[in-house]
Structure formats: structure tokens, C-alpha cells
């Protein structure tokens, strides 16, 4: 019997089957029951209706280290009919796609409304199969098609022996549906009851006493939230003083726009849907020029369109936070798949040379805390600050203690913003005054006693256009000096887990930290001691600090979700240390098992690049001819 430790996957046809409704209800209830949920993979397609959708979820008693590997304990297939995407497979699509990942002794629940499917191969592996005519129960008995999700939830809770008295489910259903009336609440609860009954019938018929899996509520000692990266960073932006946001609809950044459109006005701010990607960033820069903390959010294709404005921000020294929720490129790429392939664009993109800062949080918690820092840093250094997440981190949800949001000390520091009294004291105001730190006094228009001229053309200290060689040299050096100041005062060094001396060192950035830590544990079980060095502050690259740590390694292995190893290239070019790479770019998340396999290959064969995830998952073997 396994208690409070499993990986579950719910699959079905997008929009039609309500995959996310099931995982959302599960996630909320399990969070309230004191369990930890990690739902970092989002399997959906860039269509609204029809494609296969799946939502995996790790459930545990302690915060899970990472989302683990593809292996599943429980598979819930909601398709009751053919998927338009795979029409030859009525109600078998999810099972065909994910059945092979079910562990021996696992559990399969599938919608049998349109007939039973062949599952002998799975049953030979000790997998317990529960046919559940959820759609028929909802449509024919309850006369409400949409409650078929609730039939599935009821069935799941029964086989996990969870919430037997239905208190948790009832509370959630009442919260969600009471405004639609008692009848809707009752129908939902009836649906769950019917799901439980079907499971009981199967158990009885098969002579099973239960499954190997079991969930048990844990005492809730502190309030916890189930929250995504996009939501966490949006709250961070509000807390950090951002009061102007603009974004053009794009997956997976749209959720930030939607959240801030709804909530930013409550804090006196405004959020605007741009008419295009360029209007968004230009309007945000205009807001910043006018003195307001501003932010834009987008993903790869939108970021490409904004590149020209990076230079404006860098040259005219207008602070802005640019969120890039990376997705698989290039071009339209795979809009609903995750990747870490925009690093080169944010570090090097654009003509000319500007100061710029690149931050990449690893977790939902850091999406919040680092976003507050991002706005302070942008104001202090008056340059673009890039905030790199990726689809998995943006949309993936996990349980986070509420204290992360309420206990973090928050300081809104607007840097060198000058006020009227400063201007009276200091005399002639120079927007681009040459200073040892490179940081010049910034003015909000409307402040009496000071006028600024700000331009993306090269300029003198007062902001008037100049091509004088000495002025140009002084201004380039002034702007570059800000990055030296940043490295000295604000750049955070990489986090080091374990001792890197004469050991393989796994290097990562952004959302892969949990996977590297998971892989480190798994490698230890294989008698391979490896250290993990994880960067959140990527650029300007902290060469001295990085070299001191990485120089001690026996071999440096960067693990990244892109083709070329973009961060590996940065490390190699900045520190002159050779870096090997484990890269994955097939759209699936990096699993700890991928990293372990890659490290073994590098250590055994001495190869420099491991490209994982090339072989397609084998479909489950089923007897054909049905």
C-alpha cells in the first residue's frame, strides 16, 4: 500500500472532456487536505477543440523534489469517443498515448460509455482497470453532460479511499456552483456518488479489496496556495509596485495579461491589451518615461517583435521589466510546448550594445520574490530587465505556503529618482550625468526645477543628441559601468548544492533546478556523486564567482531545454571552461531520468553532447481487430 505518493495523469479531448476541471478540483481539494501537489507539465495543443490534452500531477506528503519521470501510477482517460485527432481510436486515445508509462500494478480508469477497450496487455502487468461509463451516467441518468468530470472525480476518490464522507468535495462544489443553485450542487454531488458506486461494483466483481494507492489528509499547519508561475509573478509585480502592464495575447503569457487586467486597477494601476507586440512595449516605455513602474509580458514570437525597443530602453535608460514565458520556437514553433531557447535573444538580441539584466526564477516562489527584485533592479540600473520563465513554470501549478507571499520583506526602491527638493539643492539637472557607478539621477516629468531630454540617439549629459567622439566614449562607458555596479551590488551568485571539487557538476538555469536536484539524488543511488550549480541571475554573467565554483569540477555538464546549449555557450565564452551539454528540445519537460541517463553517457563515453528524448514513447500493446 502506497500512501500519499503517486503520479497521476488525466487525459482526454481538449475542451470537450474537461481534463483541467478534473485536475483543478483534485488539486484544490488535495491542497486543502494538507497534501502537496505538483502539476508542472501541461499537455495541450494550440487549438481550442479536438486535440489530445493531458495534465499530469504529482501528489505527495512532502513537497516533491521534481515532477520525476514519465512513469505513472494512475491514468484517467476521459475520452468517451473518437478524438478528431485520431479518429480510428474511439475512446482509446489517452490509453494508447500514455498506457505504456503506467507502472506495473498501477491503475487505469477510462470512460467506457462507447464500449470497453482491450486492456489484456495492461492487466497482464498487474494494472487494475476500471471501466467507467461517466459520459453515459452524466448524459442519460443525470441529464447534465458536463458533470461527467465529477463522475470521474468521485471514482478517483473512491479508489484512493479519500474524502469518504465527502466533506471536502461538498465544500468545493458548493463554493463553485451554489450561485447556480442547489440543484446544480446536488447534481454534481450525485455524479461523484455514481462514480464511487461504479468503482465499488468493479472492485466487487473482480474480487479486489482496493488499489495499491491511498491518499490520507495531513494536518494543515499553515495556509497553502495552489498557484502557477504566471499568477505568482503577477502578484509579485503588484507587490513590487508595477502599476502599468501591457501585453498582446500570446501563449503562455496571456494569463498574466488577464490577471493584471482584472486586478491591477484595484491597486490604482492599469493593464492594457496592446494592438500588437510593439504597441505593448512602447506604451509601457512611455509609462516608464512618465515615471510609472511598467512591465510587459510575452513569449518568443512577441519578444522577437520587441527587440528594437530593448535598445531604446538600454540607450535612453528607461527602466522596464520584460517577462518572457518561453515556449518552443523558432517562428511559431510549438506554442504549447516548453523550451529554454530565448536566452541568446535576451542576452545578445538587438543592434548595438546595451546594458541589460537577465533573471530566471526556478520556482513559483521565486516568480514572486524575484519579480519584486526585478522592478527594484530595473529602477536602479535604468535598463531592460528580462524575466525568463517557460511554459512549464508559467502555467504549471504547485502548492506553495501562503507565508511566501505574506512574510517576504518587500521594499519598493525607486533608485535615483530625484524630487523637487533635490533639484533645488543640486542646481542644473543632468539626466545622463556621468557618475562613478554609471547610474544617473532620474526625473519624473512634472517635477519643478528639472527638465529632461531623453533619446535613443547618442546624447550628452543633458540628453541632447551628440556624435562627439569623446561624449560617445564617455556615455558608452557610463552605461557599461552600470553592469559592473550591478555585479558588485545586486547580482546573486549561483546556488551550489553539494561540493563541486573534482566531481561532475550539473549546471542549470531557470525552471530545471528541481529536476537537477532530483537527478542528483538518483545519481547518488547509483554511486555517482555530482554537485548542482544553479543560476537565477544569468546576465551580466558573474564570471569570477562562476569560475571559482565551476573551475573545481571534474566535468561541467549544462542541462538545458534547447538544441545548442545556449547557457553552456555563455559559460564557456565568459569563463573559458569547457562545458558539456545534456539538451532536450522535443517539447516534453526534462525528466530526472533524462539527466541521469545523460550523465551516465557522458561519464562512460566521454561524449560532449547528449540529446535526450529522441525515441518516441512506445504505444501500449493492445490486441487489434476490435
Amino acid at each position: 500500500m502506497i500512501t500519499n505518493h503517486l503520479k497521476l495523469l488525466v487525459g482526454g479531448v481538449q475542451l470537450r472532456d474537461g481534463v483541467v476541471t478534473v485536475t483543478d478540483v483534485l488539486g484544490r481539494i488535495l491542497t486543502r487536505a494538507g497534501l502537496y501537489v505538483l502539476a508542472m507539465e501541461r499537455g495541450y495543443a494550440s487549438t481550442i477543440y479536438g486535440a489530445h490534452q493531458y495534465d499530469p500531477m504529482v501528489i505527495a506528503e512532502q513537497p516533491p523534489v521534481s515532477w520525476g519521470d514519465p512513469a505513472l501510477d494512475i491514468l484517467v482517460a476521459l475520452d468517451y469517443d473518437s478524438n478528431p485527432d485520431a479518429s480510428q481510436q474511439p475512446n482509446r486515445d489517452t490509453v494508447l498515448r500514455h498506457g505504456s508509462h503506467l507502472k506495473d500494478g498501477g491503475v487505469l480508469v477510462y470512460d467506457s460509455s462507447t464500449g470497453e477497450i482491450p486492456t489484456e496487455a495492461l492487466e497482464r502487468r498487474g494494472i487494475k482497470v476500471f471501466p467507467l461509463p461517466a459520459r453515459n451516467i452524466a448524459r442519460d441518468e443525470l441529464k447534465l453532460d458536463v458533470v461527467k468530470n465529477m463522475v470521474a472525480v468521485g471514482a478517483l476518490f473512491r479508489l484512493l479511499e479519500f474524502d469518504r464522507d465527502v466533506t471536502l468535495l461538498r465544500k468545493l462544489v458548493e463554493e463553485r456552483f451554489m450561485r447556480k443553485g442547489q440543484k446544480v450542487v446536488d447534481t454534481n454531488l450525485q455524479a461523484a456518488r455514481r462514480g464511487r458506486e461504479v468503482v465499488e461494483t468493479v472492485l466487487k466483481a473482480r474480487g479486489w479489496t482496493g488499489t495499491d494507492y491511498h491518499l490520507e489528509p495531513r494536518p494543515v499547519t499553515e495556509p497553502r496556495l495552489l498557484i502557477s508561475g504566471n499568477e505568482a509573478l503577477s502578484i509579485g509585480a503588484i507587490q513590487g509596485g508595477c502599476r502599468y502592464y501591457a501585453g498582446y495575447p500570446i501563449t503562455p503569457a496571456s494569463a498574466i495579461l488577464e490577471f493584471l487586467e482584472e486586478h491591477l486597477p484595484k491597486y490604482g494601476g492599469r493593464a492594457m491589451q496592446g494592438q500588437n507586440e510593439r504597441e505593448s512595449i512602447r506604451a509601457a516605455l512611455g509609462a516608464a518615461v512618465a515615471g510609472v513602474r511598467a512591465m510587459v509580458g510575452t513569449s518568443g514570437p512577441g519578444l522577437s517583435l520587441k527587440v528594437e525597443e530593448f535598445g531604446v530602453s538600454g540607450m535612453a535608460e528607461v527602466p522596464i521589466v520584460i517577462v518572457d514565458t518561453q515556449r518552443a520556437g523558432p517562428s511559431t514553433g510549438m506554442p504549447t510546448k516548453s523550451e529554454q531557447a530565448d536566452l541568446s535573444l535576451v542576452v545578445f538580441g538587438g543592434h548595438g550594445e546595451i546594458p541589460r539584466i537577465v533573471l530566471a526564477p526556478a520556482t513559483q516562489e521565486e516568480c514572486y520574490t524575484m519579480m519584486i527584485d526585478a522592478h527594484n533592479i530595473a529602477d536602479k540600473y535604468q535598463c531592460p530587465v528580462f524575466f525568463l520563465t517557460d511554459l512549464n513554470l508559467s502555467e504549471g501549478r504547485k502548492v506553495v505556503p501562503e507565508a511566501v507571499f505574506t512574510q517576504t520583506a518587500v521594499r519598493v526602491d525607486r533608485g535615483t529618482l530625484v524630487r523637487e527638493e533635490d533639484l533645488r539643492r543640486d542646481g542644473a539637472y543632468k539626466r545622463f550625468a556621468l557618475t562613478p557607478s554609471g547610474i544617473s539621477p532620474r526625473l519624473v516629468p512634472g517635477t519643478l526645477g528639472g527638465i529632461f531630454k531623453v533619446t535613443g540617439s547618442e546624447h550628452d549629459e543633458r540628453g541632447f543628441v551628440s556624435t562627439d567622439p569623446a561624449t560617445r566614449k564617455a556615455m558608452m562607458e557610463k552605461r557599461a559601468r552600470k553592469m559592473e555596479t550591478y555585479l558588485r551590488e545586486d547580482a546573486k551568485p549561483p546556488q551550489v548544492f553539494g561540493t563541486p571539487d573534482r566531481k561532475p557538476v550539473l549546471v542549470g538555469w531557470g525552471s530545471t533546478r528541481p529536476v537537477l536536484l532530483d537527478a542528483q539524488q538518483r545519481l547518488r543511488a547509483l554511486k555517482i556523486e555530482a554537485a548542482v550549480v544553479h543560476f537565477t541571475h544569468l546576465w551580466p554573467f558573474p564570471t569570477d564567482v562562476a569560475k571559482a565554483v565551476l573551475g573545481r569540477a571534474s566535468v561541467i555538464i549544462a542541462v538545458e531545454q534547447n538544441f545548442s546549449g545556449q547557457f553552456a555557450d555563455v559559460i564557456q565564452s565568459q569563463s573559458l571552461l569547457p562545458v558539456r551539454r545534456i539538451v532536450k528540445y522535443n517539447g516534453l519537460p526534462i525528466y530526472a531520468s533524462d539527466v541521469v541517463g545523460g550523465v551516465e553517457q557522458i561519464l562512460q563515453d566521454g561524449i560532449t553532447h547528449v540529446r535526450v528524448g529522441t525515441e518516441a514513447p512506445a504505444p501500449v500493446r493492445v490486441s487489434e481487430g476490435d
Binding site: R270, A283, A287, V289, R414, L443, G463, F464, V465
Partner: protein, 303 residues
């Protein structure tokens, strides 16, 4: 070729009278007049003079002024008078101005750009700013050419020319006023920099307008447009009659059709119809306004 009207004819006395009390004010924090880098006789001098008159009349102070300049000769105007100024990418002026005004309704925000900046590379912003209707005045210094890159044709090139055959490379000019009306602009006007007094009167109305105010100003390029000269505009320009009702959209379209039929260019306010809009406040920006935002109500959503 005639010089702009600033120093000549009956415009003269008014210009001097309006400028005198505050000439010094607008000359501070600005490029000295002798270092202005426009060709002698450039139409933009007239716009500069008219702008100073209008700002003075409206009692705008330089500290509360934010000028957003476009790319090109015209955008340099931001440095030729006192006041805060911003200058970014080609075609972006209106989008920057939009964000600035949305954040700071307390500022006077004006965009100053050319016809290429506004109607070619920046047309995406022009169209939607007409719809959004921020309280921004836009003065387009329309000369039909890209002056700063030595005379390439802009979208308004070919105005009044007797051209028998057009091509994809060289299409007919389009009408800024018609585009503005189509896009839903609430203030549409045209002026001529050769008559700064009249132009300044239109700018004053634009500055008073609660919403986006578009003024297309014919500002001749004396170096690269030898066709649409001061004389040509004097010959073809015609004041909008006092009997025209600018609040009537049908009348505005009819006026444009009538002028087009007669081969004339309207000078004055063609359309003015403020839209009911939500009141907005200056966005919080000082640390004391931002510190300690209570996000606990948001956290409730995720329990």
C-alpha cells in the same frame, strides 16, 4: 520660393506679440536657435513657432510638458523648445505617448512626427490611437518625403501631381484626414506651417480637446519636395468655412469630398466630437504610494 510666414506679412505681429512675454521660457533647456539643424526655410520652423504660441496660450509649463518626437527632421523639434522630451524608435511616437498619457493624465503629452513616421512605419499605432483616444495632441509635419534620408517618397507623396499611371512602387498619396476619420479619431484638423498664426489657433483647439487630437500640418520640405512648395500650398489650401459644423461626422466627410472635387486642401478643424470617457487618475509612482500593497485578497483566490 517663399520663406515661411513667421517673419513676413500680417502673421508677423501676432507671432511676435504671442512669443514675446515667454520667448525666454521656451528657449531655455533647448538647442540654441542658431544651432537648429533644419534647412533654411524648412516648414518645421513654422510649426515650432506655432507650437510655442499655442503652448503659451494654454499656459502649459515646460515641466508639465512631455513631447514625444518621431524619427526624422521633424522629430528634432522636441529639442528646439523647453520641456521634457522623449525620442525612441521610428513609428513609435504615438504608442509611447499613449502609455505616458494613460499613466500621467496630469501631463500635457504631445507627439511630434513626420508623415513617414506616422503613416508608413507607424500607421499601426496611428490607427489604434485614433480608436483609443488618449488625451494626446499629434502634429504631423507632412512634407511628402523622407527628408532626413534624402528625399524618398512617403505615403503622402504625389499630392496634387498630375500623374497618369501609378505603380506598386509608386502608388498615389493617401489622405491622412480620411484615415483618421475612418479609424474613429475624435479631433481631425489640418494646418499649414506657412501660416503659423492660423496653425497655432488649431493647435490651441487640439490642446483643449479631451481626447486624441490629430493635426496634419503641411510643412514644406524646401530641399527634397520641389512640387508641394509654400506657394503650391498657398494656392491649394483653403480655410474651412465658419459655417462648417465640425461635430457632424457626415458634414466632415462631405467637406473632404467637396474639397477633393475642387482640388483644394482644407485648413482648419474638420471634425471634433469628444467621446464620453472614463475618468482616470495619475497612476501611483512614488515609493510611499507603492510600499505595502496588500495582496492578501488576491491570495484568497488560490486557497
Amino acid at each position: 520660393m517663399s520663406e515661411p510666414n513667421v517673419t513676413k506679412s500680417n502673421g508677423q505681429s501676432t507671432v511676435r506679440a504671442a512669443q514675446k512675454p515667454s520667448a525666454k521660457l521656451w528657449d531655455e533647456n533647448a538647442t540654441p536657435r542658431h544651432r537648429i539643424q533644419w534647412c533654411p526655410g524648412c516648414g518645421d520652423f513654422g510649426v515650432l513657432a506655432a507650437l510655442k504660441m499655442a503652448l503659451t496660450k494654454q499656459e502649459v509649463t515646460p515641466a508639465n510638458l512631455l513631447m514625444v518626437g518621431g524619427i526624422g527632421c521633424s522629430g528634432q523639434i522636441r529639442n528646439y523648445l523647453n520641456g521634457n522630451a522623449f525620442h525612441g524608435t521610428h513609428g513609435g511616437a504615438l504608442a509611447y505617448a499613449l502609455g505616458a498619457k494613460m499613466s500621467r493624465p496630469d501631463l500635457t503629452v504631445i507627439a511630434l512626427a513626420g508623415d513617414g513616421d506616422t503613416f508608413a512605419i507607424g500607421v499601426e499605432n496611428f490607427v489604434h490611437v485614433c480608436r483609443r483616444d488618449p488625451g494626446v495632441m499629434l502634429v504631423i509635419m507632412d512634407n511628402g518625403v523622407y527628408g532626413l534620408t534624402k528625399g524618398q517618397h512617403s505615403p503622402t507623396h504625389g499630392r496634387g501631381m498630375d500623374i497618369k499611371e501609378w505603380s506598386e512602387e509608386s502608388p498615389p498619396p493617401f489622405s491622412p484626414l480620411r484615415l483618421a476619420l475612418t479609424a474613429g479619431a475624435t479631433f481631425v484638423a489640418q494646418s499649414f506651417s506657412g501660416d503659423p498664426k492660423h496653425a497655432s489657433e488649431i493647435y490651441v483647439q487640439a490642446l483643449q480637446h479631451k481626447g486624441f487630437a490629430m493635426v496634419n500640418d503641411f510643412s514644406p520640405c524646401v530641399t527634397y519636395n520641389k512640387f508641394n512648395t509654400y506657394d503650391w500650398y498657398r494656392e491649394h489650401g483653403e480655410d474651412v468655412s465658419a459655417s462648417h459644423d465640425p461635430a457632424n461626422l457626415d458634414a466632415a466627410w462631405e467637406l473632404l469630398n467637396d474639397f477633393d472635387r475642387r482640388g483644394r486642401l482644407p485648413l482648419g478643424v474638420v471634425y471634433r466630437h469628444p467621446r464620453a470617457k472614463k475618468a482616470v487618475n495619475r497612476l501611483p509612482l512614488w515609493p510611499e504610494e507603492l510600499q505595502g500593497a496588500d495582496v492578501r485578497p488576491l491570495l484568497q483566490l488560490f486557497r
